[in-house]
Structures are given as C-alpha cells and as structure tokens.
C-alpha cells in the first residue's frame, strides 16, 4: 500500500517553543490513522502544517508522493485535505447554511441563491443526521451543535483525506456513535483519515494504525490491532502508567452544597440536590438534559427563576459568582475559552485570581508570592509551561484546561463543581485532574462532577441522571456502562 500522506522531518518553532522537532508521519491510502500524544505534543501543529495553514520551518509534506502545493494555493489544498480543527472555525454571526458553504456559496461567479443554498445545507445536515436548523445563526448553537456543523462541513468537501482533531471532546455518546458510523462508511469508500483523540478506546474502535508523538517528536507508529493499551500509554507518557483506580471513601455528615426547588425555564425544573462533605456527586445525562445549566446555576453563572442555593452553610445570592467563591466554592466551567481563562495573562495570574486578596496586604498582590503559589500549582497538576509568567493563550488545549483546574483548586474549596473537566485532556492529565478532585474531597470537600464521559463519572459516589430537565434517577456506585446509558437515554428509569 502506498502512502497517501506523508510528512517528513517537520520542524516548527513558535518563538522559543519547539512544537515539532523532526516529527514525521506516514498514512497509508484508505486507512484511518490515529495520532495520539500528551497535551502539547505537537499534534495540532502538525494538523495546521498538513492542511497548509502554516509553513514548517523545515521538512516537507507529500500527498500521494507529490510535494504539497504552495501555501497560497488554498484551492489545491482543499482538494487534497479537509479538516475539523481543534479550534472552532465557525463564524458565529453567519447562518449554519452559510458556514457550511463558506466561500463556496455558489459554484459560479454569479449571485448567491439563498434558497438553494438552504436546501443544499439541509440535505447535507440530513446526510450526517445533524439536527440543526440551517437558517439558525451559528452563534446561537450549543457547543456540540457547532462541532457537528464543523464535522459535516469537513466531510462535505469530498476530499480523499480528512483530518479530525479531537472531534469527540465535546460530543456525547450517541453523537460519537453517529460520527463513527459516518467515518466507517467513508473508509469503505476509500477515504483516508487522520484521527486525533485523547480517548484511547476510540482509537481502538475506529483506527487501523496509530502514531505516537512525544515532546515534539515521533515516537512510534504501530497497527492498532494487538497493541496493548498499557504499551500505547507508555509510549505517550514515556513511562509505565497504570489505569486510574477510583478510590473509595465514606462521605461525612455535613451538607456542604444544597439546592432546593431550582427551576430555570427551558433548562431544568424543580431540582433538589445536596452534596455532603467527602462526597462526589455526578451529574449525567444526554445532550440537552439540563445538567450543565444546573451546574452553572449552582456556581452562580446563571440565575435560577426559582429556588435557593446554600454553599457551606451560606445562602448565596442567585447569580453572584463572587459570593459563591467567597462562601468556599471552586469550579471549572464548561468552555475554557469562554469562561476559563484570560489568554493574554500569565499562568500565574490566571490561577491565582480567586485568592488575589490573600497574596498581599492593602489590595496589593505580591508578584513573588503569586509566582510561588503558581509554581506549586504547576507542579501539583503537572502543567506543561515555560513558567508561571507564560500567557495561558500560548499553552496547548489540555494544559490550558489544567490552568482552569488550578484556578478552581487554588483556594482549597469546600465545594468543587467541575463541568466536563477532562475535555481535551490527555490520559495522564486526566488522571491528574480526577485525582485532584478526589484529593480535594479527601481533604473534606464535597464535589459535583458534570460529565459526558462515563469514565469520569466512575469516581462519583453517586450519579444523578438528568433527562429533559429533571433528575430521573440517583444511581449509586457500582453501575455498569450499559445501565447508566440506558437511564440517560430515558430507555429505563
């Protein structure tokens, strides 16, 4: 089999950071090839080079043995490769239909026929079973819906090579299944794919071979079949790593977080929730179940229409984040780019904002104490960064997520609310983050963990499953995947 795509000896530097250092990859015609590696290993950088968005400092890219087209020749690139980028390329102010056919609204040079475009868009969305109104503004879609639109767009080019950079980080189970179905049928049609994910079980499920990057270099390329899980993880991390074992513990008696009679129109109705010290409560549910909305209400990002919230014995004013933080809450928001961090500010500042008042007197913040605290957090959470002074905007996705986590943990919270905490985070980091939640709980905190990933929910002492805005079941530890999914899908109650 000949190589459909090949990158040789690619070097790419960003200032002092070397994102790729002689990296290479070769993908055979028609295969689905996984690219895995820890956060910041250089995967997305390779994607931008393979799609012609960035010029490598050294090295070359070949398509079917031919050198890649000139960077300026976007059309030539688009014929060769389509991509779902890790960073959204959706334009919020435009309609879904226009986003799908951006810069190819017409085939001719003439006027755009909007009606025809909508029809084409609907057909495309239907083909990929994306339940989104073609006329809606893309900015009004949920994160998941936007992701689906991006996937549909990438698939629609008919390119023979498609790259998917962490497409499933924001999708729930059924949506992932639909995506995989689509990918399988594309492969049957002979399409070559490169697939990036931190979910190694997905790699096993959908890919034929896998390339591992570590520290900007190529480590190994192997067929997936017969590759032991441990070995793959070891290749990524450079050391033997065992599977995460959730710990058992006995919840204390004190209720640290409670919500009573909470309702928010269109999101959830009449919810009661209470979390004890030393307890992790999971919130599960399929898309639109209202779990995120509920968690955001608990931390004060949203204001419920009715009901009360008590944090650590203090009744918190609805919709008041500072008050909740002051009462002893720490949280990780759903979308790190949106609410998680200030990209231009340093790791140090981003992690310490909630405790700024403790880092100096008279309203001052001592840079030395801030750096000391930040360095400790960088060490605790194993954040890959140039140092406490590096802007968070320059970090890779997973490391940025760790910064957000650090911010939540910095004030030793008595209540921890984490929403999709491991989205886009590598295996080892995932363990570190889940471990951090458990550590906090062992220190006596109570935690709420909202996640679309069953693996995350496994550390919970009990899981509240939501369906259409209501809590339908309180599932204690010891569930099987099948049981929980059935409840989440509303098949069984």
């Amino acid at each position: 089999m000949k190589n459909h795509v090949e990158a040789r000896n690619v070097v790419k530097r960003f200032g002092p950071t070397t994102a790729l250092n002689g990296a290479e990859i070769a993908i055979a015609e028609g295969e689905t090839h996984a690219l895995v590696g820890r956060n910041g290993a250089g995967k997305s950088t390779l994607v931008s080079i393979l799609t012609g968005l960035q010029r490598p400092d050294a090295g070359e890219v070949l398509f079917a043995g031919e050198p890649a087209p000139a960077l300026a020749d976007r059309d030539a690139w688009r014929q060769r490769v389509a991509c779902v980028y890790q960073k959204s390329t959706i334009i919020p102010a435009l309609s879904v239909a226009e986003n799908l056919f951006l810069n190819r609204q017409t085939d001719t040079r003439g006027a755009i026929n909007w009606r025809a475009l909508r029809v084409r868009a609907r057909e495309l969305l239907d083909t990929y079973e994306v339940d989104v109104d073609a006329q809606a503004l893309a900015g009004d879609l949920s994160v998941e819906q936007r992701q689906l639109v991006e996937i549909a767009r990438a698939l629609s080019f008919g390119a023979r090579f498609i790259i998917l950079d962490e497409p499933t980080a924001r999708l729930d189970g059924p949506a992932i299944e639909r995506l995989f179905g689509r990918m399988r049928s594309l492969r049957e049609q002979g399409v070559t794919m490169m697939y990036i994910s931190h979910h190694l079980d997905e790699v096993y499920e959908i890919c034929q071979s896998v390339t591992v990057f570590r520290d900007a270099r190529h480590v190994t390329t192997r067929p997936v079949a017969g590759l032991p899980h441990d070995e793959l993880v070891a290749a990524m991390t450079g050391e033997a790593t065992s599977v995460y074992e959730s710990r058992s513990r006995a919840p204390g008696g004190a209720v640290v977080l409670s919500g009573e009679g909470l309702s928010l129109t269109g999101r959830y109705t009449n919810i009661d929730i209470s979390v004890k010290s030393g307890e992790v409560v999971g919130l599960g549910g399929s898309a639109s179940s209202g779990k995120v909305g509920l968690a955001e209400t608990l931390v004060g990002l949203r204001k419920a229409d009715a009901g009360t919230i008590t944090v650590n014995g203090t009744r918190v004013r609805p919709g008041d984040v500072p008050a909740a933080l002051k009462a002893g809450l720490g949280f990780v928001p759903e979308d790190r780019h949106h609410e998680g961090f200030v990209p231009l500010l340093s790791v140090g500042e981003n992690t310490t904002f909630p405790i700024a008042r403790k880092l100096g007197r008279y309203g001052m913040v001592s840079p030395a104490r801030r750096r000391a605290k930040a360095e400790q957090l960088i060490k605790d959470l194993d954040i890959k960064t140039e140092g406490a002074d590096q802007p968070v905007g320059d970090l890779s996705g997973g490391n940025a997520q760790k910064v957000v986590f650090a911010r939540a943990l910095v004030d030793d919270p008595t209540v921890l609310v984490v929403i999709n905490p491991t989205a886009g985070v590598d295996v080892k980091a995932k363990q570190a983050l889940l471990g951090a939640v458990e550590d906090a709980v062992e220190r006596g905190a109570g935690a709420v963990l909202v996640s679309d990933e069953l693996d995350d929910l496994r550390i919970c002492d009990r899981v509240l499953v939501m369906f259409h805005g209501r809590v339908v079941k309180d599932v204690p530890r010891g569930w099987t995947d099948h049981e929980l999914v059935a409840v989440m899908e509303g098949i069984e109650d």
């Binding site: 976007r74 919020p92 810069n103 006027a111």
Partner: protein
C-alpha cells in the same frame, strides 16, 4: 434542540430596526414644520446626505470586514483637490501640469484609491493597528490638502468635476441617483456575492476565513481601496454641490459616519451588520439634522439635542436588535 422559528424570522428584520424611528421622525417632522414633508425638502435631505452616505457605505464595508478607516473624511477633500490642482493652471492655484480637465474625476478616484491602498499596505502588511494608522493618515491626508493649497479654497474648478454634484437627472439631483445606485450595488454585493459574503467571514473570524480559502489579505486590500475610492467620489459630489473645495471639506464627518453605521446595526467588532441597515442610519441622521434646522433650535444647545437623539436611536436599535452591542 431546534431553534424556535419566530426568533429567526425576526432576525431577518434586524437591519430594519430603525424603520420605526424613521417613521416617527417623519411624523414628528410633519407636525413641527409644514415645509418638512414637501417633496422639495425631502429631496434636499437626500441630496444633503448623498455624499456622506457614500462614506457610510465605505465605512460599513470596512467595519464588516473587521477593520477601521478614519482617514476617509480627509479623502473627501484631498482627493478632488489634488485632482483639480493637477489640471488647473498655476494662476488658479494648480500645479500647472496642464492635464485635460475631463480627467479630473478619474484622477480624483485614483487618488482616493491610492490612499486606500496605502492604508491597506500599512495595516495588512505591517499588521499595524487600523485605528491609529488611519488616524495618522487622517492628519497626513488632510495635510496634503492644506499644504499645496496653503489653506486657500479652490474655486476655479473644471466644469466636469461640478457636473455630478449639481446635475439633475429625471428631476432629481444626480447625487441621489448615484448614491442610490451604489447602495443597491452594496446591498446586493454584500448580500449575494461570494466576495461580499467573504467580508462577513473575515470580520467574523479571519482565521476561519483563511482556512476556508478566502484570500484575506487581498480582499482587505480591495475593501480599503474601494473605501478610498468611494470617499473620493463623495468628495466629487460634495465639490459639485458646493462649487468649490474648501480646506475643511469633509472635516469632522467621520464621527457622523460611524454613528450612522452603528445605529444602523453595523458592529464595531466586525462581521455583523448590513448595508441596508447602514442606509437607515444615514437617513435617521439626515432627518434629525433637517428637523433641527427647520425648527431653528438654538445653535448653542443643538449639540445636546443632537447627541441625545443619537443615544435614543442607539437604544432603540439595541432593544429592537435584542443583543448587546460591541
């Protein structure tokens, strides 16, 4: 997960949020002064707004593409002035090159295009802040009017430059037809052409636009050049209307241009707004000015009333538009 239909329908009318304001102004104006609703007066309003509306058209496109151009206002005076000086004799204040007088309009447009291209060059190639580049250019371009003329008004103009701004076509000033045609072209171009739509993509997310194969730099160059050309044409129309080119032609317009574009729904952050909306913004401002003139508000307090009306229009467009403004 599907969005409710009514809201979407409404979104289409978002560029028309100022229509009620216009209707209100028409009613109030008619009530306050009998002259107001006469065809003569309304024609005057349109003619008076023709030149500035071209600047609004230009600025709206530039804003939608996510950029900024303050220097347009200086081009309004400088482009026609330089063109005129290239053709008139030294005795009338020209350079004495003796170029034929019929060339004056093309020359003016060329000067405007050149200014736009230079702006584009600095902003796109050097990645400088558009606000400050065009602010400096506002000063420099105006200096290129004041320097060669030494502050004097040019009033011996070739006939050809006066024609467009003063002629009547089918009983209406030519300037109204020209502005009208260009707005129709703008509405069509930004609504139905790929190139026009690419402005929205660039303004909304330049990286995504680049990934979609849009030649971002080239399109932006084009927008700046087109903007400069439109400003020069506005200058030609204004020259014809006034019959001379004073040193202050266009000076101070740019704020009104921004106000018109923004109350018309064009976002300062790029990617949002329509040419039709910008047009309604121009009309609101023209009607307000006309009404204030007709009722003879004291010149001392006029700014207060005027500013207050802009604020009110802004609030209406905010409330009707439903979204926070940037």
């Amino acid at each position: 997960m599907t969005a409710p239909a009514p809201r979407l329908r409404l979104a289409r009318f978002r560029d028309l949020t100022l229509v009620p304001v216009i209707v209100l102004l028409l009613v109030v104006g008619a009530f306050l002064d009998p002259t107001f609703l006469t065809p003569g007066n309304l024609t005057n309003v349109l003619q008076q707004q023709a030149a500035i509306s071209l600047l609004v058209l230009a600025e709206a496109m530039i804003l939608i593409a996510g950029k900024f151009d303050l220097s347009l206002e200086s081009t309004v005076g400088t482009a026609p002035a330089i063109a005129v000086m290239l053709v008139i004799p030294v005795s009338a204040g020209g350079f004495g090159l003796g170029l034929p007088g019929t060339l004056v309009i093309p020359l003016a447009l060329l000067v405007g295009a050149a200014i736009g291209a230079f702006n584009g060059f600095l902003i796109i190639r050097f990645q400088l802040s558009a606000f400050i580049v065009t602010l400096a250019m506002l000063i420099i371009v105006h200096g290129f009017l004041q320097g060669p003329t030494e502050g004097k008004t040019l009033f011996e103009l070739p006939e050809s430059i006066l024609y467009l701004g003063s002629a009547l076509w089918l009983g209406l000033p030519a300037a109204i037809w020209i502005a009208g045609a260009l707005f129709v072209a703008g509405i069509f171009g930004l609504g139905y052409l790929r190139l026009g739509r690419s402005l929205y993509a660039i303004g909304g997310n330049a990286d995504a636009a680049r990934a979609a194969g849009i030649r971002v730099g080239r399109v932006l160059y084009g927008v700046f050049i087109l903007g400069g050309t439109l400003a020069a044409l506005a200058g030609v129309l204004e020259t014809g209307r006034l019959g001379a080119i004073g040193n202050n032609q266009g000076v101070g317009w740019i704020f009104m241009v921004f106000a018109a574009a923004v109350i018309g729904g064009v976002s300062m952050d790029g990617g949002k707004g329509t040419i039709l909306g910008a047009l309604t913004g121009v009309l609101v401002i023209g009607l307000v000015q006309n009404i204030l003139t007709l009722i003879g508000v004291s010149g001392f307090w006029q700014p207060v009333i005027y500013g207050a009306i802009i604020l009110i229009a802004l609030m209406i467009s905010r409330i009707a538009g439903g979204k926070a403004q940037d």
